[in-house]
Amino acid sequence: MTKRCWILCAGFLLAGIFLSSPVAAIPSDPKLEARISANEVVSSTAISLDGKIAGVMKGNNIGIWSIADAHQIQMIEFGVEQPVFCDFLDNGTHLLVGLSSGKIQLHDAQTGKMLRLLDNGAPPWVVRVSRDGKWLAAAGGDREVHLWDRATGKMAHRLALELGGAMDLAFSPDGKMLAGSSEDTNIYVWDTDTGAVRNVVRDLSLTTFGLAFVPDGKWLFAGSGDYAIHVIDAGSGKVARSFPAQKMPVIALAMAPDGKSVAAVYRDANEPLGSTPILIWSTESGGLMKKNDSKELKANGGGFLSDGRLMYSTVSGKELQVWSLR
């Protein structure tokens, strides 16, 4: 499987990690919020934290849609360049876009106007911004992660991976740590101020595709190619416990705003276009709280919202459907 396919899915469901609103129990079935006519293959979708707008990435453009009335607000065209990553920032006012050329662009989500440009030098398959907005981290090609000072637009550190490229990145809620998983199966935890390695998690035998910190930063959750979620002590880098392995690799993770539950997306490693069950686990007990394993479910983006709902998009033919789960 190409890195791109994994990363697009691994970028799934991470938008709402650091919010503080409590997540409600999830007794209900998914509610269909919108149907968007895509007309071509949608590679990935980002949803704003308030659940009002969606960024729909397809071909060489990103459409920004109002979810409430399935109305296209804006279309951002990238010409010969191809977007490889997108996510909303700053309560949905900005759209962060990574391009195959290595550029990272910040756009006004309403007007589409480009506000800022960084040259990452390598395709930024995955980009994360710290909760306080100070740091921006991007996969920096083979064996590197680039850490940028968002205020100055300067690269603060080039963070080395031993082998392979970064698959997912996650900042600790206080922004002092950055975790990065690599194709070499290790997870690296860096100090963002110094760029020094705090620890390297070497205990996992397969690649981790999804990372998420709990709100107090003590535990790092890792969704692995070995079908399980592992709970890692962020201070020591040791795997403290693992949730029951399922039948497919975990390809994305998201922590609920209150840290009490974690949503995991699974997919058969040998079926890149296969279904993507979503399971929600209790972070404390490791028990399964909710499960949507419909064979028709092919999720391609979304995240926890600030009100605690989980909102995600699925592809059905040329139609994009946006669902919410409370």
Binding site: D142, L163, G164, D184, T185, S205, L206, G225, P249, N270
Partner: protein, 210 residues
């Protein structure tokens, strides 16, 4: 008694100092040695993407093909050397690839191995021709090669017989966006009749010094 292994350049310079060889040109011995050295330089094997299916702790073995495995029997051979052409006898070579149907074994270690070297940096293993993974264009085998004092090599081997190339890998190798070097597409020697056909490929692994 300790064994000393001289490089070709060191050998020429030593012989010259002993009068065993005499320069017949106006060039100094060091320049001749340098030219000789440069003529012996091997290209480092181009790196290629690591991919998401590496699995730690593969068993050490050279037989990856088991009785009853579907697919064209394949034997891979080659040497591990540095850019001066010197064999790296203490190298570690790890390989992994999809099965005939293009599927990777995630739960176990089928078609995954650490290869024992056979002296003079030689390696060989028996497997089956990998199928096409659904999200990749070309058939390929992943290699991870390391040796003390050398830059670790992560690369992939491709097959000139891959139908994707339509018989012309020179022209068509770029059909796989991850295949950035024609050098990684190796000729395939097919032997036997259609019922007993066997494929053989040689792939030299050349590491850069640190």
């Amino acid at each position: 008694m300790p064994r000393y292994q001289l490089s070709r350049r060191e050998l020429i310079e030593k012989c010259a100092s002993l009068g065993v060889v005499v320069a017949a040109t106006s060039l100094p011995i060091s320049a001749i040695a340098r030219i000789w050295d440069e003529s012996e330089v091997h290209h480092a094997t181009p790196p290629n993407a690591f991919g998401p299916f590496y699995k730690k702790h593969s068993p050490q073995r050279r037989e990856l093909r088991m009785a009853g495995d579907t697919g064209l029997p394949l034997t891979l051979t080659g040497r591990v050397l540095d850019t001066r052409g010197e064999a790296l006898e203490d190298a570690k070579v790890e390989v992994w690839h999809a099965d005939h149907f293009g599927k990777y074994d995630i739960e176990g270690y089928r078609f995954r191995a650490q290869l024992p070297l056979e002296g003079k940096g030689q390696y060989s293993f028996d497997s089956v021709m990998p199928g096409h993974y659904p999200d990749r264009v070309c058939q390929h085998i992943h290699y991870l090669v390391s040796a003390p004092g050398h830059k670790t090599l992560v690369t992939q081997l491709y097959f000139a017989t891959d139908p994707v190339f339509e018989g012309d890998p020179d022209k068509n190798f770029t059909r796989d966006p991850l295949l950035i070097s024609r050098e990684l597409v190796r000729p395939v020697v097919l032997t036997g009749d259609p019922k007993t056909m066997h494929a053989a490929v040689n792939f030299e692994l050349c590491l850069e010094r640190l």
